[in-house]
Every structure is written in structure tokens, then in C-alpha cells.
């Protein structure tokens, strides 16, 4: 299983020896690590400051008093909790459906015997190349005609459809390595194909499920273009568009916008903190373009 960040840090540095030959490289790495992480520290620090403190010149330093109430203020006085809830609903539904539809389609394509299985796979994989832009307006028109703009479905259905190609790509790869004996013995025991798939095959590819869940999480949680085009009612706004409204509302309130940005990122940061290796694996598995 993957280690948490803390465990990993301890292990990596426990036998650290000073090596002057590597100084230049270490310096470069440290500088870079600092550049990559400092903006986030800066965000966290200003999320705990008052405007006064920032305007009086404490832009980079630690807060004089740590204003945790910036966080409670945003949670109590803004729609951030609603946006978070919407994002959680849309993202979890998307992940569930992508895994359900993607795994069963990939199973039939990879394991079952029919003439068009190869062609079907190719058609699915072509989808990896299609950008959201291409479908944006037709989808908007379809959703408008169905009167389901401003609904969870308006986001979930497109996210699922665009998530399927990568999921099927990853699942077929994993199904390839599952031994056929499993199905044979299940078949001899009189298990139906549906039960065989659900109870025997699917549990064999848990790593694929985790990989796809993380991959799909990242794209659904962060998606902006469809959200900004299909959702205008507050009740269905997800985090990315919700932050736009919050930024307008708190434009002169540094602490509040900092707190909102930090809270919006917290789920992603927590997932990464506990599953960093899994997340990195999922990114590698998902890099299938080209």
C-alpha cells in the first residue's frame, strides 16, 4: 500500500548524509521545491490575516494573530458549503458511473467474444482526443431542449461520457492480466456471467478502480468549461464556478478569499496527503494521449 507523506519523509531523510559534491544539484532542487510550494504557503498565511495587517505591510510574514475566524466567517456567510456539497455530489456520481459503465464495457470488450469488440475499443479510445470544446455548444443546445440546464445531470452526464475513454483504456489493460481460469471455474459452478463479473472479476482489478477513481475525481472536481456554460443557478454551482462568485463577493477581503480557496483545495490536498503514491500512479496511467 502507499505510504502517507509523513511516513515517506521520515524514511527518505532518516539516512541523509551531507555530500558536498551534490551541493549545486541540491541547491537547484531546493530552490525549485520552494518555488513550487511557496505560493501555497503564501495562500495559507494570508487566509489567516486581516486586511489591515496586509495593508500595513505584512504581506509575506506570519500572521500576527492567526485569524481562524476567516474560515468560519466564509463558511457561515457565503455559499461555499453549498458549492462544496454540489461538487461532492457531482464528483461522486461521476466516479461511480464511470467505474460502473467503464468496467462493464471494458470487460465485454476485453474478455467476451464478439466480432466488433476491437472496433468498439478503437471508437472509445478515439474519445481521448476529443476536447470538451468540440461538444460544448451541441450539448448546451441538447440540455436546453431537454430543459435540464441548471441541474446535476447537466454536469454528471457529460463528465461521465468524457471520462469513459480513459477508464476503458485503463480497465482493458487490467482485465488482460486476469487469468481465464477464474471465469472457467465460476462458469462450471453455474455462476451467471453477471455474477462472475461483479463478484469475481471486478474485485480482481481494485487497483484499476482506485486509479480511475482518482483520475476521474481530478477532472470532475476541477472542471470549469462545462460548469460555467451549463450552470447559472447558484443551487447547482460547483466549486470552480462558485469560486468565481466568491471572488467577486470577497474581492476586497483577502482573508476570506484565501480561506475559501484553501477550503476548496482541502479535499484534493487530503487525498494527496494520504494516497500520494496512488495519485502519482493514476496520473501515469492516465497519460495516454498520443
Amino acid at each position: 500500500m502507499s505510504d502517507t507523506l509523513a511516513v515517506k519523509m521520515r524514511r527518505e531523510f532518516s539516512n541523509f548524509k551531507f555530500n558536498p559534491g551534490n551541493m549545486a544539484i541540491l541547491l537547484f532542487l531546493s530552490l525549485f521545491t520552494f518555488i513550487q510550494i511557496y505560493p501555497l504557503i503564501y495562500l495559507f498565511l494570508f487566509s489567516l490575516k486581516s486586511n489591515n495587517e496586509i495593508f500595513l505591510g505584512n504581506v509575506m510574514g506570519l500572521p500576527e494573530t492567526w485569524l481562524w475566524k476567516n474560515y468560519s466567517r466564509v463558511l457561515a456567510n457565503s455559499d461555499l458549503p453549498l458549492y462544496l456539497l454540489n461538487s461532492i455530489i457531482v464528483t461522486s456520481a461521476t466516479i461511480l458511473l464511470v467505474i460502473l459503465l467503464g468496467s462493464s464495457a471494458a470487460y465485454a470488450i476485453q474478455r467476451m467474444r464478439w466480432k466488433l469488440s476491437k472496433a468498439t475499443l478503437v471508437i472509445f479510445l478515439l474519445g481521448i482526443m476529443v476536447p470538451y470544446h468540440a461538444a460544448l455548444l451541441p450539448l448546451f443546445v441538447i440540455l436546453r431542449n431537454l430543459k435540464i440546464l441548471d441541474s446535476y445531470a447537466a454536469l454528471i452526464i457529460p463528465y461521465v461520457a468524457f471520462g469513459l475513454p480513459a477508464a476503458i483504456f485503463i480497465f482493458t489493460g487490467f482485465f488482460k492480466s486476469v487469468p481465464y481460469e477464474l471465469e472457467e471455474s465460476a462458469c462450471l459452478d453455474g455462476c451467471s456471467i453477471y455474477k462472475t463479473f461483479y463478484y469475481i472479476i471486478l474485485p480482481m482489478v481494485k487497483p484499476a478502480i482506485a486509479t480511475i477513481a482518482i483520475f476521474t475525481y481530478r477532472s470532475a472536481w476541477n472542471e470549469l468549461m462545462f460548469a460555467v456554460s451549463f450552470i447559472s443557478k447558484k443551487a447547482f454551482k460547483t466549486i470552480p464556478i462558485g469560486l468565481m462568485s466568491l471572488n467577486g463577493r470577497f474581492v476586497t477581503d483577502w482573508g476570506a478569499i484565501g480561506a475559501a480557496l484553501f477550503m476548496a483545495s482541502l479535499p484534493s490536498l487530503l487525498i494527496y496527503l494520504f494516497l500520494s503514491q496512488r495519485v502519482q500512479d493514476s496520473v501515469r496511467a492516465g497519460a495516454v494521449k498520443g
Binding site: 507523506l5 515517506k8 531523510f13 541523509f16 548524509k17 532542487l29 518555488i35 513550487q36 501555497l40 503564501y42 494570508f46 505591510g57 509575506m60 459503465l101 462493464s104 464495457a105 470487460y107 465485454a108 467476451m112 467474444r113 464478439w114 472509445f124 476529443v130 470544446h133 468540440a134 461538444a135 460544448l136 455548444l137 451541441p138 448546451f140 452526464i157 468524457f162 469513459l164 471465469e183 462458469c187 456471467i193 462472475t196 472536481w221 476541477n222 470549469l224 468549461m225 456554460s229 466549486i239 470552480p240 469560486l243 468565481m244 471572488n247 484565501g258 480557496l261 476548496a264 483545495s265 484534493s268 490536498l269 487525498i271 500520494s276 495519485v279 496520473v283 501515469r284 494521449k289 498520443g290
Partner: protein
């Protein structure tokens, strides 16, 4: 067994739901977009068929669109010149087995986890003219006269908005390239070491050539990502000021949903799809002629 695995009904139950959703949402709209692009249409009234007129306007009359293509190419070149080399160098250093390898890799990747919208808003604060990090820092080291409203200035907006895009994705490419570098067989490095190659020679002469297939993937993703760029620019500048940081994507969104030119906006969408496809094919060709194997 064969009968079970060839069960037509089961195959339909497994494949059809995914296929129908996928076909209806991803594939068919692609063709509808192409169809819409031959009309003048405000989304409500009659569609007027005008053939390829939208494309003629797009390429020969629309200054803003030409400008947006130029901007997206600038972004592409900057990511290729800055992001990719940095990612390669970081990957080579980390894959060479430095102390704290896993720690650096894990930390460098953190920005990739955040949404571009969060990073865009964060950098708006960093660039904020009066109390933002950059101008305050410039003032504090006596370079106050360099301070400017980075995102509000016609000359700097595009570059200022490009910086966080490059910043965010370095870790992503570093990770892919790191995996490629790691997969180079240890014997090859050892052999080169015995032949007297130093660390830098080993990295550039042995490891780097074997990373070519992954570098190709990174180049394709970088180019496609830059040409399609939307999230960060939309969040930071919305394409402004006065189209200074406009991208084809941001222009497409405003054409569709602010100006209600559905046909014309569709021709932009079609252009973006074809542009990305063509460049992917070209990159594939370029790398094909330079494939390295040992």
C-alpha cells in the same frame, strides 16, 4: 465457457449503456458542431446556411481570433522552452537516485492536484498591484519602479497569465519523465559508469535518449494543452485586457454565450479540434524519424 463469453445479450448489457452515453455526448456532438459551423445562427431564430463563410471570416477578417491563435502559440512555445526542459532536468536529477528523491517528487507534484481556478485566483492575488506578493517584494528590494498591474497591463498580461500555467504543470511532466528515466535498466548506467562517463554524461547520453517515447507524449500533451488552454486564462484575465491574453477557447466562450453567435463560435470549436489533431500527427511524424533503440 464459449457460450457464456459469447452471450450476445450479456455483451449488450455490458457495452450498450457506456456506448450510448459516449456516442451521444462525445461523438455525435462533434459532427453537430461541424454542422452548426456552416450557419449563421443566434441560437433562437432561424439558422441561415452560409457554407464556409464563418471560416473565411475566422481566418481573414477576425483580428481577435488571429490574435488569440498567436497568443496560444506563444503559450505553447513558452511551455516547450521553459516547462519541458525544467521537467526533464528535475526528472533526471531525481531518477539518478538523490537523497530525498520521493520527498521532492511528491512535493513538486502538489500544484497539479489543485484546480486551475484556485491557482488562477491565487495568482491574481500574487499579481495584485498594491498588496500582491510580487509588487510588495519588488518594492522591498528597491525595484519599486518595476512594479506594475501585471494582469491589467497590455504588455504583460499574457506572460503573467502564462507563468502559473507553466508553474502548475511542471510537476506533472516531471512525474511522467521521472518514471521513464527510472525504467532505464540499471546495467546501462553501470556500464557507462565503468566506461568513465560522469553523472551528467550518463544522464544526457544514456538516459535521455531512452526517454524519447515519453518526451513525445509530454510534447503532445503540452502542445494540445496550450492550444486548448481555458481554465487559467478565463479565471485570471478572461482574455483581457482588450484581448491581450485572449485564447481561442476564451474567445469561443464569449462568442457563444455573450455574443450569441452560435454558428461562428462553432467554427472556432472545429478549428481547435482540427488544429490539435494536426499538430498531434505532425509531432508523431517528427518523433518517428528520431526514434532511438539500443
Amino acid at each position: 465457457m464459449d457460450k457464456v463469453l459469447g452471450d450476445k445479450k450479456a455483451i449488450s448489457v455490458f457495452v450498450l449503456p457506456a456506448f450510448l452515453v459516449y456516442a451521444a455526448i462525445v461523438i455525435i456532438p462533434l459532427f453537430i458542431s461541424a454542422y452548426y459551423s456552416t450557419f449563421e445562427w443566434d441560437g433562437i431564430g432561424e439558422k441561415i446556411a452560409i457554407g464556409l463563410e464563418n471560416y473565411r471570416i475566422l481566418f481573414f477578417e477576425d483580428r481577435h481570433f488571429i490574435k488569440s491563435i498567436g497568443n496560444s502559440l506563444t503559450l505553447t512555445i513558452l511551455t516547450l522552452l521553459i516547462q519541458l526542459p525544467l521537467a526533464i532536468i528535475l526528472a533526471l536529477i531525481l531518477a539518478n537516485g538523490i537523497k530525498g528523491e520521493g520527498f521532492y517528487r511528491t512535493v513538486l507534484f502538489i500544484p497539479v492536484m489543485l484546480s486551475a481556478v484556485v491557482i488562477g485566483h491565487l495568482f491574481r492575488r500574487i499579481y495584485e498591484p498594491n498588496f500582491g506578493l510580487i509588487n510588495v517584494f519588488l518594492n522591498s528590494i528597491g525595484l519599486g519602479k518595476l512594479a506594475k498591474p501585471w494582469l491589467g497591463n497590455m504588455n504583460t498580461a499574457l506572460y503573467a497569465a502564462t507563468a502559473p500555467i507553466i508553474w502548475q504543470w511542471i510537476g506533472y511532466h516531471m512525474l511522467l519523465l521521472y518514471a521513464a528515466a527510472k525504467s532505464v535498466p540499471q546495467e546501462l548506467r553501470e556500464a557507462a559508469k565503468l566506461d568513465g562517463a560522469n553523472g551528467i554524461q550518463r544522464a544526457f547520453k544514456i538516459v535521455l535518449p531512452l526517454m524519447t517515447p515519453v518526451i513525445k507524449i509530454c510534447v503532445i500533451m503540452l502542445i494540445i494543452g496550450s492550444l486548448r488552454e481555458f481554465d487559467m486564462i478565463f479565471t485570471m484575465t478572461g482574455g483581457g485586457p482588450a484581448h491581450a491574453s485572449e485564447m481561442p477557447s476564451t474567445l469561443m466562450i464569449s462568442t457563444l454565450f455573450s455574443r450569441y453567435q452560435y454558428g461562428y463560435g462553432s467554427s472556432m470549436a472545429v478549428f481547435i479540434v482540427i488544429e490539435c489533431l494536426l499538430l498531434t500527427l505532425i509531432i508523431q511524424k517528427v518523433f518517428k524519424t528520431s526514434d532511438v533503440t539500443y
